[in-house]
């Protein structure tokens, strides 16, 4: 029985028996893959139409959803959600579907590169070895993506062993999610750090302050399932959903009531609702005492009756829930907003209850919450780079040149680093600036695991395995670091034979944990099940209940936030729900219409039609938007659901590298942002005011919708 045969037969979802383990152990690295064959040359044990399915983890964002990938003749054909994985229960978002366009992207980095020339992996290994050996440990830095995955664990171990800097995790999504603010607020109020989890599905009324949880926020697939549960009207009352946001995001589009409050007044409004609701409930809560509903109504532009109505619903509902997130937290007073909104939950007394607030379960092999770096921490990191404190910088899984606001100066700071080594799979902006690119496999070609930070009730470790053999001459970063470590010697020489051995050593302790979804007597059997089911998770709820005791007695501030810049418009950047930070090079993601504007393949600025009319601006007119930190030119979309004093631009386009489908398309709204942080260190991305200037240019936006049919443009006067 050949090695190829063993993998093929034994790792597919159906049928992993005890007998397989012995054979599996004997497999060398080469036997991990099914060879890619032309469909014309079918091996005799296969015939057309028979597919092999592999369980793995989606790497398109940090949520860590489980995937089942259908493969045929060594090609990945289709991704589906892994129905076993408690995070996504068989579902995927659009980006998970399009991950195959990343795998088979025509613009991948095919070989290890030194500048523009290809080198061999031996040379590359030597380069990494030299970089590790010839620099002081504190001069070596790792910058990685948000996902807390096996590579992060490996580099952390390496950092522990060799004394290099601990790896820093960062990603534009965590920046726009304001994760640091959320966890900081939880820490302030509950005395315990961690990501709050909001049980939308069990609630009866949800007040969301800027949290775009149906788009990209934290764990969109899981929260969308929660939303479906909220609306489920068969077994309970149909839950109500109110969104407070200056512009109607696609999440707000699903709300029963969209409250376009003035940016910066979120904390004030939350406290005012708290005060009104507390009065209705007859609860005394000093947290809300400073609030003045009339004043809040006036300043936020919400009618007082509306506030009272919402407060009444909130006070009298059996399952009230309030969620802080997104642009509401990305302001100078973001922390106060998060605390005020969390305090509403204390008023609703929903901590640890169905439809309430929990602290997310810590993933297996995790003892405490470890969040990604905030933008302010990134600024410190950049300062270290610029000051020449780092001689070598390894970048993996993040594209900071694109994702960080240009004004923070990451690109310029790279010049202060002696050697920049990127492990990017794609020729992104950071790879373009790097001295070396040593491409990692695509996620679907890789081993690994990913801890699920939030979204599932139980602790989840999503497992990844290669579903196809690597398409190009790429190498797993761990394998490269291991080999380089051997050459560098000393503390860098870790004892693992390869990446898989490292993984096995990591997941081995789980065999003995109680309440596991499966257990096994030995590591080989355990690994086989780990691969078969796409990870390991507990069967028990791992969420913890926030300490509610004195939340209502904390003092809260409802002061308006401060805005940077002089302009007359509030500026709300938001993450494109279809592209997110790394989707722009996948052609089918580009062709997906945005859920709110249906624009494809480009960036737009959403302006209220009345404002546009007053300024003499039409659809598709290119305007120049100027902030304190930068400017950009972008075509206008007259968006009927945005405050007249606010504009919004999606984040996701504006690449200068990153392959043919992404390059020179649209603009990057982070160009308008800069050193402007909130108390938790998150970027105050919604705390900037901007000016709008006409340019006289036009750039027609590609829309799926008909301007005529939807807006009546060109239908004659009466329509």
């Amino acid at each position: 029985m050949s090695n190829k045969f063993s993998r093929r037969d034994f790792l597919k979802l159906t049928g992993v028996g005890a007998a397989t383990t012995a054979i599996l152990t004997g497999c060398g690295p080469a036997s991990r893959y099914v060879k890619r064959e032309p469909y014309m040359q079918m091996p005799e044990y296969n015939y057309n139409g028979l597919s092999t399915f592999y369980a793995t983890t989606c790497r398109e964002c940090a949520a860590g959803c489980g995937l089942i990938v259908r493969t045929s003749q060594g090609r990945a054909i289709k991704t589906e959600g892994n129905a076993n994985n408690p995070l996504n229960l068989g579902k995927t978002c659009a980006r998970g579907q399009a991950t195959l366009h990343g795998l088979y992207n025509p613009d991948r980095v095919t070989d290890p590169m030194k500048g523009d020339s290809k080198i061999t992996w031996d040379e590359a290994t030597q380069v990494v070895a030299d970089a590790l050996k010839n620099n002081k440990p504190e001069e070596i830095a790792f910058l990685m993506g948000t996902a807390p995955d096996h590579l992060f664990d490996f580099v952390s171990d390496l950092a522990n062993a060799a004394g290099i800097n601990v790896p820093v995790r960062f990603n534009a999504l965590s920046m726009f999610e304001s994760r640091a603010t959320l966890s900081k607020a939880a820490e302030n109020l509950f005395g315990k750090t961690g990501l709050p989890f909001f049980d939308v599905g069990g609630a009866q009324i949800v007040l969301s302050f800027g949290a775009n949880f149906l788009e990209t926020w934290l764990s969109p697939v899981s929260y969308t399932r929660g939303f479906a549960g909220l609306r489920e009207a068969q077994t309970k009352m149909r839950g109500k959903f109110v969104q407070f946001e200056a512009t109607m995001s696609s999440t707000a589009g699903k709300a029963d009531e969209w409250i376009p409050l003035k940016p910066g007044t979120e904390a004030m409004v939350a406290l005012a609702i708290g005060k009104l609701a507390a009065e209705m409930k007859g609860v005394s809560a000093s947290a809300f005492e400073g609030a003045n509903p009339e004043d809040a109504a006036k300043k936020s532009g919400i009618k007082l009756e509306a506030l009272e109505h919402i407060a009444e619903m909130f006070a009298h509902s059996g399952g009230a829930l309030a969620i802080p997130g997104g642009a509401a937290l990305g302001q100078s007073n973001g922390l106060a907003v998060a605390e005020a909104v969390l305090a509403l939950n204390a008023l609703a007394d929903n901590f640890g209850k169905v439809g309430g607030v929990y602290i997310s379960a810590l993933a297996p092999m995790q003892t405490e919450y470890h969040g990604p770096a905030s933008a302010q921490e990134m600024q410190d990191f950049i300062k270290n780079m610029a000051d020449g404190k780092f001689k070598v910088l390894f970048v993996h899984g993040v594209n900071p040149v694109f994702e960080l606001p240009a004004a923070l100066g990451f690109k310029a700071a790279l010049k202060g680093v002696g050697q920049v080594i990127s492990f990017s799979t794609f020729p992104d902006e950071t790879a373009a600036e790097a001295n070396y690119v040593f491409p990692d496999h695509h996620g679907l070609e890789s081993w690994g695991y990913q801890r699920v930070a939030t979204g599932a009730a139980q602790p989840v470790l999503s497992g990844a395995q290669p579903v196809v053999s690597p398409f190009y001459n790429t190498r797993a970063t761990i394998d490269l670091l291991l080999a380089a470590g051997q050459i560098a010697g000393g503390k860098f020489a870790l004892t693992f034979k390869d990446e898989v051995e490292f993984l096995q050593s990591k997941v081995a302790p789980l065999m003995n944990e109680a309440d596991g979804f499966f257990s096994a007597p030995d590591i080989n059997t355990f690994m086989a099940s780990f691969q078969q089911y796409g990870g390991w998770w507990k069967t028990t709820d791992g969420r913890t209940v926030p300490a509610a005791a004195d939340v209502l007695n904390k003092s809260m501030s409802g002061a308006e936030s401060k805005f940077a810049g002089e302009g007359e418009f509030f500026f709300v950047p938001f993450v494109s729900p279809t592209l997110a930070e790394a989707g722009a090079n996948k052609p089918w993601l580009q062709e997906l219409p945005d859920p709110t504007t249906t624009v494809m393949w480009n960036t737009w600025v959403a302006m209220n039609p009345k404002t546009a009319e007053e300024m003499g601006i039409e659809d598709d007119d290119v305007v120049r938007i100027v902030s304190e930190f930068g400017e950009l030119e972008v075509p206008v979309y007259k968006y009927p659901a945005i405050r007249p004093d606010t504009i919004a631009i999606p984040f996701g386009q504006g690449h200068t590298a990153y392959g043919r489908y992404a390059e020179n398309r649209g603009v990057n709204p982070t160009d308008l942002l800069g050193q402007n942080f909130n108390e938790a260190g998150d970027l105050a991305f919604a705390g900037v005011k901007v000016k709008i200037e006409k340019t006289g240019k036009k750039k027609p936006l590609s829309r799926l919708e008909s301007i005529m049919g939807v807006y009546g443009v060109g239908m004659g006067e009466e329509h």
Binding site: L704, S706, M708, G709, G714, M715, G716, E717
Partner: protein, 472 residues
């Protein structure tokens, strides 16, 4: 005095009416031969060469690109799946109608003024249908498989779908093309026989083949007349059916604005409207450019066709109004939106342009007999009517397709490669005419002579009266 008066009256009639102004047969044959054989001038070659280039680029090169790269080169999209190609198809089929109408209907009803220009009209039918065929094949996404639309025996027993109006359409157009070609050919036989006897070289061979050995015996004439009579009667229903069926392509669909029961006659009248306009323009050109043609084609002919045009314009206006009213009062919300879009939407100028070209201009000019008899003026009106009728089809197809029951998909249409291809078909139409004018007698000599033989002046007392005898 009265004799003189009678004489001048006779002169007057002679001058006015071709049928009363006979020439010896030999002389007339010679005139027609001369008009045909006249060596082409440099102007002719210049226009011919220019049109050839237009055809080569506009029709053949552009079409090749269209086939190689796909219909995406045209302006069609969702929801406007049909564009100018089908506008042109309907337009050319419309033009081809007048040929048969003039030739067959006027022949059946023995309208004497028809005689000198039946040939020119029949040529218009055939040449117009060729352009219509081109246009509909351009429209197809995979034209190399167009034969699948034809019923032909095949192993898989796959037949075209007889439920589809497009299948009826294709069958009707094919039938029409074949029958109109035969109907063009039959009356041509005596004339090519005449040409055969008066030419030498390759022309003699050419005409010999075309004439099928016609010698002009009594028996041959009897057979020919029988054949022509059968065709003249048979082709009339074919002609009516063709444009009715073209209208069914639209009327049988479920689209707002198309689903109209009056589309059949409305399309026929529309076809005659544009066809008459085209016919008169062709006649004016022939009269103006070819030798001896001022003898054959006179003011009376423009006058007669002008009257027909006026009547047809009125009929078209009636049907248009009828169609509009029925749809408007139907009250369907999508149809009402569409009708509103026609006049108030971005293509509203075209809708008003259509009404001006098709109604206002002909009514303003054709009521006056003097104006009606002025060739250049009537020809201009004819061309304007054709512009109007092209607008009408444009409004029915791409403009109406903009609006459907899914407002999310409404779009506008911007033509692309349709423009060179459309110009190419027009150039090819003219080119075919130019070639025909040099190859076959454009005037059916025998028919004119037959008419002249039948007409004579008779005196009843002092009055000179025209009498026409039945020849057959």
């Amino acid at each position: 005095m009265s004799d003189k008066k009678a004489h001048s009256h006779e002169e007057h009639l002679r001058e006015k009416h071709l049928m009363l102004d006979p020439l010896p047969r030999g002389k007339m044959n010679e005139m027609v031969m001369e008009a045909m054989m006249e060596p082409p001038t440099w102007k002719f070659w210049l226009i011919f060469g220019f049109l050839s280039i237009v055809v080569a680029y506009g029709l053949f090169y552009s079409w090749a690109r269209l086939i190689m790269e796909g219909v995406g080169l045209a302006g069609v999209n969702r929801p406007i799946y049909w564009g100018i190609f089908l506008v042109n198809t309907v337009f050319w089929i419309g033009i081809s109608h007048a040929g048969t109408f003039i030739s067959a209907i006027l022949r059946v009803f023995k309208a004497e003024f028809r005689r000198p220009f039946t040939r020119a009209a029949e040529l218009m039918t055939t040449f117009g249908l060729v352009q219509a065929g081109f246009s509909i094949f351009m429209h197809l996404g995979r034209v190399w498989l167009a034969y699948w639309l034809m019923p032909y025996p095949n192993q898989r027993m796959l037949w075209p779908n007889l439920h589809s109006p497009l299948t009826w359409d294709l069958l009707a157009i094919t039938t029409y093309l074949l029958s109109s070609t035969m109907y063009l050919f039959l009356p041509l036989i005596p004339d090519v026989a005449m040409a055969r006897d008066r030419s030498t070289g390759w022309r003699k061979t050419f005409y010999k083949i075309l004439a099928l050995g016609f010698r002009g015996t009594e028996g041959e004439w009897a057979h020919l007349r029988n054949g022509m009579n059968i065709f003249a009667f048979a082709i009339i229903p074919v002609m009516f059916s063709v444009h009715t069926i073209v209208s069914w392509d639209f009327a049988a669909a479920t689209r707002p604005g198309w689903n109209s029961t009056i589309f059949g006659p409305y399309f026929i009248v529309g076809a005659l409207h544009s066809g008459m306009g085209a016919a008169i323009a062709v006649l004016a050109v022939i009269r103006g450019t070819m030798k001896h043609m001022k003898y054959f084609i006179r003011g009376e002919h423009f006058d007669a066709i002008g009257k027909l045009m006026l009547i047809i314009s009125m009929a078209w206006a009636y049907f248009f109004f009828n169609d509009y009213m029925v749809q408007w009062y139907g009250g369907d919300k999508w149809t009402q939106l569409l009708l509103h879009f026609h006049e108030a939407g971005p293509m509203g100028w075209m809708w008003f342009g259509m009404l001006i070209c098709n109604i206002a201009v002909p009514w303003a000019i054709l009521w006056n007999q003097k104006w009606r008899s002025t060739p250049w003026l009537v020809a201009t009106v004819g061309i304007i009517i054709n512009v109007g009728m092209w607008f009408e089809r444009y409004i029915i197809i791409p403009v109406s397709l903009s609006i459907n029951r899914m407002p999310f998909t409404w779009r506008m249409y911007q033509p692309g490669i349709e423009i060179p291809l459309g110009i190419g078909t027009l150039a090819f139409f003219i080119l075919l005419y130019m070639a025909a004018s040099k190859l076959i007698p454009l005037i059916p000599v025998w028919e004119v002579q037959e008419g002249q033989m039948a007409h004579e002046f008779k005196k009843f007392g002092r009055e000179t009266v025209v009498s026409v005898s039945e020849l057959e």
